[in-house]
């Protein structure tokens, strides 16, 4: 089986228009939450009046024709892809050996709803022909494939909030199995629209801390009351270790283990014993041949919901046992909000950077840690990670009971 290394990183997030500015904001403990358009709030009487919107709008970066023919979810993916590809040094790779795996949890919801509005208001002849190619959930993957001329396969795995991590896992498997030498992979989401906000609010999963948006995402705090909807994309360039070495590429980290499971329990509630999460983490560690004692950092899924955060914390303790005592736990959604299908990919980037920079990012807004949290949470300020070869776990869980754990190791 071939080793999979990470040679390029790209992102556009509520904290910055690229990886460097996003990471800097993360280390500084910045919140990306902002008030929503007041007209939306008033027109639709939204119970939640804030979200973590992009720091740099895609329209400021992409030419107008690209904005017009891509759903925002694809726009964000393309912005992040261009950064990641350049960061990797634009690898010289046969098109037949290049793949693209880019996921969105929700899909082209803006395009879907705008197309429906046009149909209802103006009739069928006014619906633009690009509506379906823009709204289909594989559209971001397809645009990345077209951008790079990738011919080894383009895929869009969908597993709600685990989608971005699952995409990276699948991409790593493409390289391991020999189907591709280089795969551009990640997740994207652009669902800050009144309709999904209304639905998430109706399911009581969003924070309603409307008087304090920047304090709303507070994983593991006793006052947490739900997640903050975010948007953006994270994209990585994965490469076989041989291919990267042959071209002298800089390696930023390794995707060493992939663990997948499903709860078989409930559409939206995590299974209380955490058995699915535990299974995913255990199989990722086994796949990576990494012992619990080697894990120094976990980037938690931790969305700031009352039930979910603690189930995950207990699951991590169950998997790592006493070795969990030396793990630095970070919940970066406290700053980025929840990018849904983009989250797992962005947090994989954070995990890679944490190992590379030997720095666990902070978790903000934890003024009163939940007494049931049985782990060492990095609060307020970044904390140092050990030298030498180190490993980390990035967890991502999604509506439907999808569990994805990735084991990342240092370069």
């Amino acid at each position: 089986m071939r080793d999979v290394v990470v040679t390029g990183l790209g992102a556009t997030t509520p904290l910055g228009g690229d990886v460097a500015s996003t990471w800097q904001a993360v280390l500084a403990g910045t919140s990306g939450a902002r008030p929503l358009d007041p007209a939306w709030v008033e027109t639709y009487q939204l119970p939640v009046t804030f979200a973590a919107t992009l720091a740099v709008p895609a329209a400021d970066v992409l030419p107008r024709p690209e904005i017009k023919r891509m759903d925002p979810s694809a726009q964000y993916a393309i912005v992040a892809t261009r950064e990641a590809w350049a960061h990797a040094g634009a690898p010289d790779v046969e098109p037949e050996r290049l793949g693209a795996v880019v996921s969105s949890g929700i899909g082209g919801i803006w395009t879907t709803l705008e197309g429906w509005d046009t149909l209802r208001e103006k009739g069928a002849r006014r619906v633009l022909p690009m509506t379906v190619p823009m709204l289909m959930p594989n559209s971001p993957a397809a645009y990345v494939e077209l951008e790079l001329g990738a011919r080894a396969g383009a895929h869009a795995l969908v597993s709600a909030c685990a989608s971005g991590a699952e995409a990276i896992g699948y991409a790593a498997e493409m390289i391991r199995s020999g189907r591709a030498d280089v795969v551009v992979a990640g997740g994207t989401e652009a669902a800050i629209h009144p309709m999904p906000i209304a639905s998430f609010a109706a399911s009581r999963t969003l924070s309603t801390r409307n008087d304090d948006p920047q304090g709303a995402s507070r994983p593991y705090d006793t006052e947490r009351d739900g997640f903050v909807l975010g948007e953006g994309a994270g994209i990585v360039v994965l490469e076989s270790a041989e291919h990267a070495a042959a071209r002298g590429a800089t390696v930023h980290g390794r995707i060493a283990g992939i663990g997948l499971s499903s709860d078989g329990y409930h559409m939206t509630s995590p299974e209380p014993s955490g058995r699915g999460q535990i299974a995913a983490m255990r199989s990722a560690l086994a796949d990576a041949e990494v012992a619990a004692s080697e894990v120094v950092h976990v980037n938690a899924h931790a969305t700031s919901t009352v039930v979910g955060d603690l189930i995950e914390a207990r699951s991590i303790r169950e998997v790592l046992g006493a070795d969990a005592d030396h793990v630095r736990l970070s919940a970066t959604k406290s700053m980025t909000g929840h990018l849904l299908g983009g989250a797992g990919a962005l947090e994989t980037i954070f995990t890679i950077l944490a190992l590379r920079e030997r720095t666990a990012p902070p978790t903000i807004n934890v003024t009163s840690p939940d007494p049931e949290l049985v782990l060492d949470l990095v609060r307020d300020n970044p904390r140092e990670l050990p030298h030498g070869p180190i490993a980390a776990i990035n967890n991502s869980f999604g509506f439907g009971g999808h569990n994805v754990a990735l084991v990342v190791t240092s370069a």
Binding site: P65, K68, R125, R126, P129, M130
Partner: protein, 82 residues
Amino acid sequence: MAYSEQEILAGLAEIVSEETGLPADSVSTEKSFTDDLDIDSLSMMTIVTLAEEKFSVRIPDDEVKNLATVGDAVSYINGAQS
């Protein structure tokens, strides 16, 4: 209200510019949609859909294949105005 040929050209150029990224002043009457402006069939149908709305005209599918140049489209839209 009928649009003049000049207004139709300006409006069409704006639509084509938005779709292709080419400067609007490069969209002149003698330009071929496919050969000069590199517009594929999907983009052409987008332009037709937007032009129908902008100029309140109907451009039947059978006519679209006859619109080789920007000038052809301007003439057709001009003639189709009620």
